[in-house]
Amino acid sequence: MGKGYYIKVNSVTHAIKAKDVLNANGFKAQVVRKSKQGRSESCGYSVVIDGDITRAEAILRNYHVRTSGYGEIRDKL
């Protein structure tokens, strides 16, 4: 089990697409809604994964899935 991360997305549509793409590429991803949102943050939805965040981001870029950064899961969701 690798480190846990949440990937920030702009909308629920992007969240579901990101989850589908990551799951199809060997991740165990799920859509969650964050209880704390910064001013710069978006729809409140994030995609949580365990594992290699660099690879996950590369896969999402490859599939043209918009993301707006990520954070470690130890941050309170």
Binding site: N10, T13, K17
Partner: protein, 382 residues
């Protein structure tokens, strides 16, 4: 009732659509994209699945390029008004529905926008030349129907798409009578904005429409509001589909539309069209042999979608439709929200009666119609 007005909306809907409309308010009753609780999430997921189905069916770049609207007219307004610029210009066809003509006329009334009308011919190359002659240096877009809602004429969209690409102009297509009937591919056809209803050839419920946008096309917004995203930003989101989906969506309708699309995919577009063409051809042959009826087109399934407009000699289209309604037959009479096409076909004084079939019609429905038309013909001769 024998229902032959499927160009207005398909009826009946498939059993799976009706069942989803019954259960969706119970299991998908929450607002999608607005909450983190399970029903909101599952509703959002179901809507995403429908986006995926539409993206696949029409070869959209991705799911986000599929925008849900309340109908085809809504989608056309988003595209036409969103792409029109001050001092701009559009090219359209002589067969357009009011859903295209009224937004264009509204823009024209502003005094700072104009449009020209290209004629449609049986020779596709002549049609394309007619479009090309109308293009100006300030042309913002071409907007035209895929197939006429009155006479069924199919426009050479692939060729018009190539023309639009050559001139680097977006192409907006009204696919109200084509979606679910013809093979539409937004990439192949270079369509920038594909506008369609969910409740006609896709067999979804009324209150559903779709705008498929190409990656390069980003119209301005004409409606702004809450999208469930970027709530702290007072500006409308720039990304799809949220940019064009302000306000609570018709989630229940969209989810049921997904079942309609499943039905079309299962039955296969080609088979549905073949079946509908057989019925229309059967009726066409009857009308052709009788001297009591007037036809306006030949029958060529490559040139027309399965829609047949005709008149009874000495009657208006509305009168024929009214007589048929008294006999339990639903057809559309009059002008079909399209005086433009009636002008072109020289039927604007009488309108026409229009027969449009669906996957659920059978030969016996057409036999019943023919039987009633025989009665009208006899009455006219007395």
């Amino acid at each position: 009732m024998i229902y032959l007005d499927n160009s207005a909306t398909t009826y009946p809907k498939p059993e799976s659509v009706r069942e989803m409309l019954r259960i969706a308010p119970i299991i998908y009753g929450a607002n999608p994209g607005r909450g983190g609780y399970s029903m909101s999430n599952s509703t959002a997921l179901e809507i995403y699945k429908v986006r995926s189905k539409i993206a696949e069916m029409f070869s959209a770049q991705s799911e986000e390029n599929v925008v849900f609207t309340i109908n085809c007219t809504h989608a056309l307004n988003l595209a036409i008004k969103g792409l029109a610029k001050k001092g701009g210009h559009a090219v359209t066809s002589c067969l357009e529905h009011n859903s295209v003509m009224r937004p264009l006329k509204k823009l024209q009334e502003s005094g700072d926008f104009s449009f020209d009308v290209a004629n449609v011919f049986s020779d596709d190359d002549k049609t394309v030349q007619s479009f090309e002659r109308k293009i100006k240096s300030n042309t913002d877009f071409i907007v035209c129907t895929y197939a006429s809602n009155v006479f069924g004429d199919i426009l050479p969209i692939e060729k018009i798409g190539k023309l639009a690409k050559k001139h680097n102009i977006p192409l907006i297509v009204d696919a109200a009578q084509a979606a679910g009937v013809l093979d539409i591919d937004v990439k192949r056809d270079n369509i920038s904005c594909l506008c369609m209803p969910g409740h006609k050839g896709l067999y979804g419920p009324v209150g559903t429409g779709v705008l498929v946008l190409s990656e390069e096309c980003m119209p301005d917004t004409i409606i702004e509001g809450g999208t469930g995203s970027e709530s702290k930003n007072l500006l409308q989101p720039s990304f799809l589909p949220d940019r064009f989906e302000s306000g609570t969506q018709n989630a229940l309708g969209i989810i049921a539309l997904g079942k309609g699309i499943d039905f079309v995919r299962r039955e296969k577009i080609n088979y549905i069209r073949e079946h509908e063409n057989e019925l229309i051809y059967y009726l066409f042959n009857y009308l052709l042999k009788s001297d009591s009826f007037i036809l306006y087109n030949g029958f060529d399934s490559r040139k027309y979608v399965p829609i047949l407009s005709f008149n009874t000699s000495g009657l208006t289209g509305e009168e024929t439709a009214s007589y048929l309604a008294q006999n339990g037959i639903a057809v559309r009479g009059g002008y079909h929200c399209n005086i433009f096409a009636h002008d072109y076909y020289r039927t604007s004084s009488v309108g026409t009666a229009r027969v449009s079939v669906s996957a659920f019609n059978r030969k016996k429905d057409i036999d019943y119609l023919i039987n009633s038309l025989n009665k009208i013909a006899k009455l006219k001769k007395v």
